[in-house]
């Protein structure tokens, strides 16, 4: 049944695009609402029929994976949730994957956020991943969520010298001086790796400028695709690796699935999302072609 639906809907897209292409030969433009409609359909269909594609990790993604993998168990990894719900579909798979990987490897995980929204998203990640999947991990011993403080990069400016100047307690109001995980932690410089997940301001760039660079702390991150090209100049010197958009997340997920039997059945939102992506990209490319065709034929006619 679903196969029939799939073939039917793909058929509709293909026939529709063909019709528009033929129409463009007379130099006619496509109205924007038709483009909107096609984009909507091309994203909805793979989602409804669950089409997936396979991925292989590129070196820039592998860089992070190997770093997390090669740090000795018990290393301190800080994950910063620097995004809001609106960006979450794209970057949440990354923070989820980082969290899972770090905990599975036995690292100590510190969660914080430079975005107000990051605090609750961090807490949600703990509820969604840590508690059900890693029941033996203890809050305050194996992981901690210290939450959000206002001040954007100013926060980094402060905690690079002293956490306690900004953070007195974790999100649950527990004094940082009383938790085991914070015993030998003074500042960001005591972290073995910082993983920033974001895509706006403040985000990875601010982490580079205000933490990794001045403090010489290894930094890697996951970024919304829009900000990723901008971060390439920091790779590989100032950034160990980078997950660019959902494709990066999908690559990281497939790497985890490949190497950890326990993650074979984990949810892979990144991989799942590559189906709609592929179709939507093709539709966009088709419209670029159609646009150029109508442009050329309109110009010819004028001559």
């Amino acid at each position: 049944m679903s196969d029939i639906g799939l073939i039917l809907s793909i058929g509709v897209i293909v026939v529709g695009l063909l019709w528009l292409t033929i129409r463009s030969l007379t130099g006619r433009e496509v109205e924007r609402r038709i483009i909107f409609l096609f984009i909507g359909i091309s994203v909805a269909i793979p989602l409804l029929f669950n089409i997936t594609v396979s991925e292989k990790a590129t070196p820039i993604v592998k860089g992070i994976y190997d770093k997390v993998e090669n740090l000795p168990s018990g290393s301190k990894i800080l994950i910063s949730f620097d995004y809001g719900p609106s960006m979450a579909p794209e970057v949440e798979p990354m923070s989820d994957a980082f969290l899972r990987h770090a905990l599975a490897k036995g690292h100590k995980v510190f969660i914080m956020g430079l975005w107000a929204t990051g605090q609750s998203l961090g807490a949600a990640a703990v509820d969604k991943i840590v508690k059900p999947e890693f029941p033996d991990k203890v809050d305050g011993v194996d992981y901690i969520n210290i939450g959000y403080k206002a001040g954007n990069q100013g926060v980094l400016n402060v905690i690079i010298t002293d956490f306690r100047k900004m953070y007195a307690t974790d999100v649950n109001g527990v004094d940082l001086d009383s938790v085991e995980i914070f015993e030998n932690i003074r500042s960001l410089k005591d972290m073995d790796l910082i993983l920033c997940v974001g895509g706006g301001f403040p985000g990875i760039k601010e982490w580079v400028l205000f933490a990794a660079d001045p403090g010489n702390i290894p930094l890697a991150g996951g970024s919304a695709a829009v900000a990723t090209p901008l971060l390439y100049p920091y790779y590989p010197k100032q950034l160990i690796g980078l997950l660019g958009g959902i494709k990066g997340a999908a690559e990281y997920e497939s790497e985890m699935k490949k190497n950890y039997p326990r993650f074979a059945d984990m949810p892979t939102p990144g991989l799942n999302m590559m189906g709609p992506q592929t179709l939507a990209h093709m539709v966009v490319m088709a419209f670029i072609v159609i646009g150029n065709l109508s442009f050329f034929f309109a110009k010819r006619r004028k001559k």
Binding site: R33, F36, I39, G40, V43, A44, L47, L48, N50, S86, M87, A88, P89, E90, A116, Y148, K149, A150, G151, A168, T169, G199, V208, L209, D213, A224, A225, V226, T228, P229, L230, P233, K237, Q238, G244, G245, I246, K247, M273, P276, Q277, A280, H281, V284
Partner: protein, 274 residues
């Protein structure tokens, strides 16, 4: 009653009916899952409302309409209050109060910190800023604006010089000939990998020429003629590649966002996919 008005009323009634229908159906499905009855009615309302708001925003793609206007105005009001509350609790109560008053700290139940007289500076500057609201003291607000701009200028000057300028320049010092082993190996491997000398060398040349021709494009006090003209022309091409590439690269992120929204509609609201 004219025709268009009647049609919009019919649409309105239809949406109300659909809304209530969805609310009822969603409540029963939630009840079946075992949620507490009052909670399930509440959650069903919220999910339906969120779905309505999502569709209201999407309707803007067709054209401006009252449902978009409703969503827009609601969003403006709610979001303005959201940031004010977060700023109040995290910055004002979290950072400021503990430093200046034990009484207030106790009132807000935050741990008081060592008294710091310097925190009266932002207090005074903040109050000066509010002087705008009085017709006579407006000029006082300029003092705090001046403080803000001074801070901006001072911090940004050093910051950009240190990281964006110095680091980017130092990153541009790349070898213009990568691991030279003779002509043979150089032209034998055109792959994008550490062994692909040719591609790496070519890439470094492109960066080198691209950065400097790009910079020449940004020259303001020289007319773009002769050498400058050619160089800035190359600069524009490099910028065009940059813009095209960045644009193409972004499509993926944007589609992901739509996937997220549609997932909400199909999964959380309609329950079509698991």
């Amino acid at each position: 009653m004219d025709r268009s008005r009647r049609i919009s009323l019919i649409i309105f009634a239809g949406i109300i009916i659909l809304f209530i229908l969805s609310w009822i159906i969603k409540s029963t499905t939630l009840l079946n899952v075992g949620t507490e009855s009052l909670l399930s009615i509440r959650d069903a309302f919220f999910i339906t409302f969120a779905a309505f708001l999502t569709l209201a925003i999407f309707s803007f793609l067709y054209k401006d309409n009252p449902y978009y206007k409703f969503a827009e105005h609601l969003f403006v009001g709610v979001s303005a209050a959201y940031w004010m509350c977060v700023g109040f609790w995290s910055t004002f109560v979290g950072n400021f109060i503990p430093k200046v008053s034990t009484t207030l700290s106790n009132f807000f139940e935050v741990p008081p910190k060592e008294f710091d007289i310097f925190y009266f500076i932002p207090l005074i500057l903040g109050l000066m800023l509010l002087m705008r609201l009085s017709p006579k003291g407006g000029w006082l607000s300029r003092w705090s604006l001046a403080f803000i701009v001074g801070t901006t200028a001072g911090l940004n000057l050093i910051r950009y010089l240190r990281t964006d300028f110095i680091t980017q320049v130092s990153n541009t010092f790349i070898p213009l000939l990568v691991d030279w082993n003779g002509i043979g190996p150089f032209f034998s491997d055109f792959s994008l990998s550490a062994s692909g000398q040719f591609v790496m060398t070519l890439g470094n040349w492109v960066i080198f020429i691209g950065v400097f021709s790009g910079l020449i494009y940004f020259f303001f006090s020289k007319e773009h003629k002769g050498f400058f003209g050619h160089a800035s022309r190359v600069g524009i091409w490099v910028l065009m590649i940059t813009f095209g590439a960045s644009f193409g690269y972004t499509v993926m992120g944007r589609v992901s966002l739509l996937v997220g929204r549609l997932t909400f509609l199909f999964k959380d609201w309609l329950g079509l996919i698991s």
